[in-house]
């Protein structure tokens, strides 16, 4: 038996909005620790890792670990039917082939049940190695979203370079090129408006903007975003969701022309 009740029903909606364009199907894993999802996009270029800790729910019960395969677009269709302020409860039998979403309105006057058919998805266990990143940037999530959106109108890829002074996003395309630099700042009124850079050594990596823009759909979940990078490794774009967990996106870098010549 799995049962989890979340007062902030809108949170689930937002989560689904952030991943449903990236991943078509995924296995949601429920354990005593929490409710999570790890999945790769079809091109195996990016990976989503999401975790809602059990202590973040109002009520959480998970008798045994279960894995529920869901089509994310269909799941999003159902969650769309909930109001942001609804209380959402997810329920599933251990051996069942459905999951139930129950939405209760704030004043308890409206109660709805949606039952989603589960599916068998064979997914590889994705071992994400714990890596010490050589550069970490924490910045306002809305700023990151804006940069990605603006640059995508110029080019396909973005070169993200981190130095101790700031982080630079550059792109170029048919019509020209663009550079946006965000400097380290600690003076803003609200701490989440600051940009903090923690760097052992400078790093510069190129990524497909298409994915970053997809990641940025998680912006409503958190006021800040953290980018963690190391040479030649996937970047981690992490949104911390207060009091309950996080959603992290991993994106493999593009191969630079220079490297390619060396490799082949």
């Amino acid at each position: 038996m799995f049962e989890a009740r979340l007062t902030q029903g809108g949170l689930l909606k937002k989560l689904l909005d952030a991943v449903k364009d990236l991943v078509t199907d995924g296995n949601f894993d429920c354990s005593t620790t929490g409710f999570g999802l790890q999945a790769m996009d079809t091109s195996h270029v990016s990976l989503v890792s999401m975790m809602l800790r059990s202590d973040g729910f109002d009520h959480y019960r998970c008798d045994r670990n279960i894995s529920m395969g869901m089509n994310l677009a269909n799941m999003a269709k159902m969650l769309k039917c909930a109001n942001d302020k609804d209380i959402v409860t997810m329920k599933a039998e251990d051996q069942g082939d459905t999951i139930t979403f129950m939405f209760e309105s704030e004043n308890q006057e409206r109660i709805s049940d949606f039952e989603l058919k589960l599916m068998d998805i064979d997914s590889e266990q994705l071992g994400i190695p714990d890596t010490e990143y050589t550069a970490t940037v924490r910045m306002p999530s809305s700023e990151f979203q804006r940069i990605c959106k603006d640059l995508a109108s110029i080019g396909d890829t973005v070169l993200i370079s981190v130095t101790k002074d700031g982080v630079k996003f550059s792109t170029s395309g048919d019509i020209g090129s663009a550079n946006i630099t965000i400097r380290q700042s600690t003076s803003a009124d609200k701490p989440e408006d600051n940009t903090l850079i923690d760097m052992q050594e400078p790093v510069a990596l190129t990524f497909a903007l298409r994915y970053l823009n997809s990641f940025a759909k998680a912006t409503p979940l958190s006021p800040t975003v953290t980018l963690s990078m190391s040479k030649e490794l996937p970047v981690v774009v992490e949104y911390r969701i207060s009091d309950i967990g996080h959603i992290s996106f991993y994106l493999a870098p593009k191969i630079e022309d220079e490297e390619m010549d060396d490799n082949e």
Binding site: V45, R210, I255
Partner: protein, 843 residues
């Protein structure tokens, strides 16, 4: 180009090697031609078959071989449509080469092209030419790299042809070293020069090379382990940069040997991948996935926007190249397990079989999965294979040859597979013929391969035979220019003459269990297209007949009038899932051959015997099944009369067959000749015409001219009057050459004495200085062309139909062109001599 020349100049050894190898290649090619005199016609047949030579133009193309200009015949083996192209090539000259890799000019470009800096490749190339054999494999790729890249860069310039040649020399230079030893030592000390009957020295030399086969160098996988797809893709890539048939065969033979020696179970999928099929053609399971699906899958797999992929595709024209380039720039999260030959093939088969609702999404998912796991050049060949166009210049006949050689060398006894007395070439050729024969009679690798692996290769024909339900490619007839030619060719043999019906070839199989299947010329299952035939044939079987295979022509037929209708009527018939009740166009089968009757395979029996089998197997029923009208005569007059009769009866003309000939599947055989109405007396004449304008070429003719406006001369008025537009019958090479010559003659506006139709204005006008001799099928009154206007018809001119270039008349000026009066005369002669004219107008 420049760099390549420089490299050669600096590097004497390279040059020498190139020269030496060029010599060898000549030898090889000459010998090949000598060894297999039958090869060329067969090839032409295959090519024409591929084009489904329905169009009269195509028929003509095959006929006028004398013009020597037809792409079908010029092309090496694979047919004109798909010149070989390596995947990796265009990456170098970023954008530039990508923009227009012109298949016709740069025949083959190597793997490494564009991945290496020219300087590095040059240095390595030098090393390759001077160093001993083992080092060569990698290095030869580098040399190709330089040349390939250069050729691409020079695209569009007149030098491009030279570059391609240079490249070939470079390739040969690198390859010459390992080969050289075998060839040079061969006559003296290594093996005695045994002259095998019918085997050329090239084949003998090639056979000697098989001693150099080194399994360990090829097989990167352990025996019994699945064969990696990368191995096959690398073989494809090598084949694509090779133009000599012997060399291509050897590359593939070695690859097949490696598979046989390690994991023979993977041979079937590997062979299917080589011939780019997923099932025998009669099974109707085909790749040839639509571009839209492939672009979507590629966008998905590489994480790029669909319109970008589409854009790159329209720029380079090769999804394989787009896929190769795209994949190479994006890492994945985790390394994926490498693709295997067997799994790629089974996924292909699954993709081809996916149908019904959501089939598109399912296909995209499967393709994406393949692409994501693919590395290096693999995605390129996956894309091309899915499109159904491998484009590496690998003909099915070559695959069969390589298969036969590999099986003999790997599975044959020691004495069979060794070349100690120099007789290996003869045995290889015999094996080839055995396998080709087996496949032509039973075109199914599912049946052929197990037999090849289980039995000695020379016994393959005892285990693989024609069977009802597995259609063979039909036997085809060769074109002739007239009755006299037929009589010349068949002098001293007994022959018979049949009407050549103008419909669709239909091979009707009646199986023991009562099932009926109808197969097209390309072995496609047409049973659903002709449910009426399928229903009527069992009724027409003679008593006691249980199974039979008939070769027929399905012809549109007016049952009330009892007459044959033209092909155009047949082509209006629905193609799929026809319901008998809805049929508007009735079809009559005209049966002319019988391949199988009640357990007896008749392919090897003479025509007389097959014909009597045919007459004993089914009975005629007007409007449903008739025997082809036939006549046996050797008299010119009588044949001429019969030809006229055949034309009057609404057929295309006659087929002349020798009575003792066997049925040769898939061959355009010299035992069957066709005599078409187009070659009736009076139309075979040639015209000398001035070239006065041209239309710009499209597709692969981009950059040159695609078709030309032709005119005859009216001496009285001193005018050039248009007579036709010509757009076929040139080899691509010739077209380029002609275009170059004519470009110098472009004038801004037509000369005042050009007479042309307002609706037929060419893109460019020429000063009329070039005269071509063309052959045409027909003359007709034309509302557009102006030739002889006023002489036959008060206002309209005369045009010639299906003109084909015979040769350029350097010795003639525009004033020497055929005169308008001559044209009018020819037209009058045609009208009076031809009875079919009225018949034709009835249509």
């Amino acid at each position: 180009m420049k760099r390549l020349r420089k490299a050669e100049a600096e590097d004497a050894p390279l040059k020498e090697a190139a020269a030496a190898s060029a010599l060898e290649d000549d030898l090889e090619e000459g010998a090949a031609a000598a060894a297999e005199p039958e090869e060329a016609p067969e090839v032409a047949g295959a090519g024409a078959g591929a084009l489904e030579a329905r169009a009269d133009a195509a028929e003509l193309a095959a006929v006028h071989g004398g013009a020597g200009t037809d792409p079908i015949e010029d092309s090496d083996e694979e047919g004109a449509a798909a010149p070989p192209q390596a995947i990796a090539a265009p990456r170098k000259a970023k954008g530039k080469a990508m923009a227009a890799p012109k298949p016709a000019k740069v025949k083959a470009t190597g793997l490494a092209a564009g991945q290496k800096k020219a300087a590095a490749a040059k240095g390595k190339g030098r090393a390759a030419a001077g160093s001993p054999a083992p080092a060569a494999v990698k290095d030869e790729l580098l040399i190709e790299g330089v040349a390939g890249g250069q050729a691409s860069e020079d695209e569009g310039s007149p030098d491009a042809g030279d570059a391609a040649e240079g490249e070939e020399a470079g390739v040969s230079a690198a390859k010459a070293k390992p080969l050289k030893k075998a060839i040079l030592t061969y006559p003296g000390d290594k093996a005695p020069a045994v002259k095998v009957e019918g085997v050329g020295t090239g084949a003998v030399a090639a056979a000697a090379l098989h001693e150099d086969f080194n399994l360990d160098a090829l097989a990167t996988w352990a025996p019994g382990k699945p064969v990696p797809f990368a191995f096959l893709a690398a073989t494809f890539e090598e084949i694509s940069s090779e133009s000599k048939r012997h060399a291509i065969t050897r590359l593939l033979t070695n690859a097949i040997r490696a598979i046989l020696a390690t994991t023979p179970g993977d041979l079937l999928p590997a062979i299917y991948l080589c011939v780019n099929q997923v099932a025998p053609s009669h099974a109707g399971t085909e790749l040839g996935i639509g571009d839209a699906i492939l672009v979507k899958a590629l966008a998905e797999a590489t994480g790029r926007a669909r319109d970008k992929v589409q854009h790159e595709y329209s720029e380079s024209g090769d999804l394989g190249v787009v896929a190769f380039n795209a994949r190479a720039t994006q890492r994945t999260m985790f390394p994926l397990p490498p693709l295997m030959v067997a799994s790629v093939f089974s996924t292909f088969r699954e993709i081809a079989r996916t149908e019904g609702t959501k089939s598109q999404e399912k296909k995209i998912k499967l393709i994406t999965k393949l692409l994501v796991a693919s590395k290096g050049i693999e995605p390129g060949y996956i894309m091309r294979a899915l499109q159904g166009k491998l484009r590496i210049g690998l003909a099915e006949q070559t695959v069969l040859a390589a298969l036969a050689q590999a099986v003999l060398l790997e599975r044959g006894s020691k004495s069979e597979s060794s070349n100690r007395d120099g007789s290996l070439a003869g045995r290889l050729q015999a094996a080839e013929q055995a396998v080709k024969l087996a496949y032509s009679q039973c075109p199914s690798y599912d049946l052929l391969l197990p037999a090849l692996l289980a039995h000695p290769i020379m016994e393959v024909n005892e285990h693989v035979a024609f069977q009802p339900g597995v259609p063979v490619k039909p036997m085809l007839a060769k074109a002739t220019t007239g009755i006299t030619e037929v009589l010349d060719k068949f002098a001293g043999t007994d022959f018979t003459v049949e009407y050549k019906y103008d419909g669709e070839r239909a091979q009707v199989h009646v199986l023991e269990d009562g099932r009926v299947a109808i197969y097209s010329r390309n072995s496609e299952d047409n049973t659903k297209k002709y449910p009426d035939i399928a229903a009527s044939v069992p009724r027409l079987l003679q008593p006691g007949v249980r199974s039979v295979v008939l070769d027929c022509e399905a012809v549109a037929f007016d049952r009330e009038e009892g007459k044959i209708l033209p092909f155009q009527v047949l082509s209006t018939r629905a193609r799929k899932d026809v319901k008998v009740a809805d049929i508007k166009v009735q079809v009559c089968l005209f049966a002319f051959d019988c391949l199988y009757l009640d357990g007896r395979v008749l392919l090897q029996r003479p025509l007389t015997e097959r014909r009597s089998a045919l007459y004993s197997a089914v009975s005629e029923q007007p409007g449903e099944l008739l025997f082809a009208t036939a006549k046996t005569s050797a008299d010119v007059e009588e044949l001429g009369l019969f030809l006229n009769e055949s034309v009057a009866a609404g057929t295309e003309g006659l087929i002349v067959k020798t009575l003792d000939s066997t049925y040769e599947p898939s061959r355009r055989s010299a035992h069957w000749l066709k005599l078409k109405k187009d070659y009736l007396e009076g139309v075979g004449d040639t015209f000398d015409v001035a070239v006065i304008g041209a239309w710009l070429g499209k597709g692969k003719r981009t950059g040159g001219y695609g078709s030309f406006l032709l005119a005859v001369y009216e001496p009285g008025e001193e005018e050039l009057q248009t007579i036709s537009k010509i757009g076929t019958g040139f080899s691509e090479e010739q077209l380029v050459q002609l275009s170059e010559q004519l470009k110098a003659l472009v004038i801004p506006a037509p000369k005042p004495y050009y007479r042309y139709g307002e609706t037929l204005v060419p893109d460019v006008w020429f000063d009329a200085k070039v005269v071509w001799e063309v052959k045409a099928a027909d003359l007709s009154i034309s509302p557009v062309h102006r030739a002889a206007a006023g002489l036959v018809d008060p206002t309209k001119g005369i045009s010639i139909r299906f003109p084909r270039l015979v040769r350029v008349r350097d010795d003639k000026a525009a004033e020497d062109a055929t005169s308008a009066e001559q044209v009018a005369e020819m037209y009058r002669k045609q009208v009076s001599t031809r009875t079919y004219k009225e018949v034709a107008e009835d249509y």
